[in-house]
């Protein structure tokens, strides 16, 4: 029995790692090689049978051109930048607003705290599909109203097909879980810290910003990793609220390339695109996997 489970575990290990290695290797093959030499030693290593023919790209050139085509011609550089902008701005706002609210709800005693906390937490029960239909139809109206307010400042707010609109949804949608994690963290910090700082003449805001916030760092880090992965990989909201190619995020760009690959059969490009999407999350995971699994399971058990 013991050996049997060991074998099963090893098979699973292979089942998880081989497809990823397969993506990595195929991103270095030309589309021609993927079809002609799918499971053999890559031409990059053993040399291509077309080496002698004039005008045929060498394996090195093919590997390079996959990534070059993805990055430049298929606009992955633009998608990457868009994903980076949307994810990082959302993330900063989520952590800032989430930490502020969580601190107030856990450290400033007041009658309404429990009610407001429950209000936020109940947001975790709302599926994205429930909010996206109304948001889609309200966004034009909301854009006009907001633009009327900001018109004197010379700012026009457009929520449809804009990063602003997407970021606002991302922030709102991520706040419940973030507040849940961070409230738990602030609660575990002793109240005596605050009291002694106040006696020493610190203002309430200083206590929050200089003392409590730095102490909550472990909680903020796990909330950050969790939200980063969720936002970087997000597809449904982006699909509906971003339309023009120059504003699309990586998952949208990748799915476009995948649909095109069915017709133009440029599989080398597709695999290179997969690598570009996967690598940032892979690095994050390998560096921070301990905090990540801890944060996710904690969230799951509470949620």
């Amino acid at each position: 029995m013991k050996y049997l489970t060991y074998i099963l575990l090893s098979i699973w290990l292979l089942a998880v790692t081989i497809p990823l290695a397969w993506v990595g290797v195929n991103s270095l093959r030309s589309s021609k090689e993927i079809v002609e030499n799918p499971f053999g030693v890559p031409w990059l290593v053993q040399g291509s049978p077309y080496q002698e023919e004039a005008g045929h790209p060498t394996p090195q050139e093919s590997a390079q051109s996959n990534f070059q085509n993805a990055w430049v011609e298929s606009n992955f550089s633009q998608y990457f930048l868009n994903s980076f902008i949307v994810t990082s701005i959302s993330l900063i706002m989520i952590l800032l607003f989430g930490a502020m609210a969580a601190y107030a709800l856990s450290k400033i005693p007041s009658l309404g705290n429990k009610l407001i906390y429950l209000y936020f937490i109940s947001g975790m029960m709302i599926p994205a599909q429930l909010t996206l239909v109304p948001l889609f139809f309200q966004y034009s109206y909301l854009s006009e109203t907001l633009s009327a307010w900001t018109a004197p400042l010379g700012i026009e707010i457009q929520l449809h097909n804009s990063h602003t609109g997407l970021i606002l949804i991302y922030i709102a949608f991520s706040l419940p879980f973030t507040i849940l994690i961070l409230t738990g963290f602030f609660k575990s910090l002793p109240n005596a810290l605050r009291e002694s700082a106040i006696i020493d003449g610190a203002s309430e805001f200083t206590v929050f910003w200089r003392i409590m916030l730095p102490l909550a760092r472990p909680g903020i880090i796990s909330a950050a990793i969790f939200n980063f992965l969720g936002l970087w990989n997000e597809y449904l909201f982006a699909l509906i609220f971003v339309n023009t190619p120059e504003k699309k995020t990586l998952p949208l760009g990748l799915s476009n390339v995948s649909i095109q690959a069915q017709y133009n059969t440029d599989f080398g490009l597709l695999f290179a695109g997969l690598v570009i999407v996967i690598v940032p999350t892979l690095i994050t995971y390998l560096v921070l996997q301990r905090q990540l699994t801890k944060g996710i399971t904690a969230g799951a058990l509470k949620g």
Binding site: L9, W12, P38, A101, P127, T131, L236, Q262, I296
Partner: protein, 304 residues
């Protein structure tokens, strides 16, 4: 405790941004969707109140019932195998073994990938052209098996796994591949809070590893296991990305799931009320599931 003015003002300053954003972009749209679900609306003209008509239409709609059936396939077939495998792996790793860390890190890995990337990866592995790794294995198996089991030509080779008519069943292995690591880590975390003395006492009394699992480990993580089941139900009810990507944004009546029907009703058929009704069904499902989870995770703090 006395709350002074400064503190009160700070409190609202701290809560306000989160409260306003959450209300405007999550809570109010949620309520709004509930209202839509009782209306007939094409998104442009004046909405018309129709009571429960949308929900009645939903139950009579073959497309929705088929989509629901597909969700149930993902839930039951995917969930049963995923949770059993996760439990088996977690209990093996929990009782100590070489390379436990490697297994944990590797098995969890698919969970950090974008659902879109996973879908494309599996679509390529299922590919019927020469490089589809799964079809290559399938063809080997087909050749190796004696013709008693498989008559030649009865099952196509290469097999069109990602055709609409087979898609949902082809997504099941993908789902298991992705989710097993997550539930394994979830169960493992619960198992690690069981005091070691229980196992020591059981070993002294001569209990076999199998008895230890059924009499110590499983009863003590049963609540977390149920949380796992509920989680799987929620996530397979909300399933969207892979079907959408693998069907090139055009699912048909074989491959639809609830969320893709919703998309089609809003953006192709302009039947907003009907789509909102689907969203409300989803919400009710998630709501009930979450209440069950909360109920169990409260009891979760067992006193040992």
């Amino acid at each position: 405790m006395h709350i002074n003015r400064e503190l009160k003002r700070l409190r609202w300053f701290l809560i306000a941004p989160a409260l306003i954003l959450f209300t405007c972009f999550t809570a109010l749209p949620g309520v709004r969707a509930l209202i839509y679900s009782f209306q007939k609306w094409d998104g442009f003209t004046e909405p018309e109140w129709v009571g429960l008509q949308n929900f009645q239409a939903l139950l009579a709609d073959d497309l929705f019932i088929l989509a629901l059936k597909n969700n149930v396939i993902l839930m039951v077939a995917g969930g049963a195998i995923t949770l059993c495998l996760a439990l088996l792996f977690a209990s093996t790793i929990h009782r100590g073994m070489r390379g436990a860390g490697v297994f944990r890190v590797a098995f969890f890995f698919p969970n950090i990938l974008a659902a879109v990337a996973i879908a494309i990866l599996w679509q390529q592995m299922y590919s019927t052209t020469d490089f589809g790794i799964i079809n290559a294995i399938w063809m080997q198996i087909q050749q190796a098996l004696p013709s008693v089991f498989l008559k030649k030509g009865e099952i196509p080779s290469p097999f069109p796994f990602t055709d609409s008519s087979h898609l949902i069943w082809s997504i099941v292995p993908m789902l298991i591949w992705t989710a097993t690591g997550f539930y394994m880590v979830l169960f493992l975390a619960a198992m690690q809070s069981i005091p070691e003395e229980y196992y020591e006492a059981a070993t002294i009394d001569g209990a076999s590893p199998r008895q230890q699992f059924w009499h110590i480990t499983f009863p003590l993580i049963r609540e977390v296991f149920i949380v796992g089941i509920v989680f799987f139900i929620i996530s397979s009810a909300k399933f969207f990305d892979a079907v959408w990507v693998m069907e090139a944004e055009l699912p048909n009546k074989n491959s639809h799931v609830m969320t893709t029907v919703l998309y089609q009703k809003v953006f192709h058929e302009y039947n907003v009320g009907y789509a909102a009704a689907i969203a409300v069904v989803l919400f009710v499902l998630v709501f009930i599931a979450t209440l069950i989870t909360l109920n169990f995770s409260r009891k979760d703090t067992l006193e040992y």
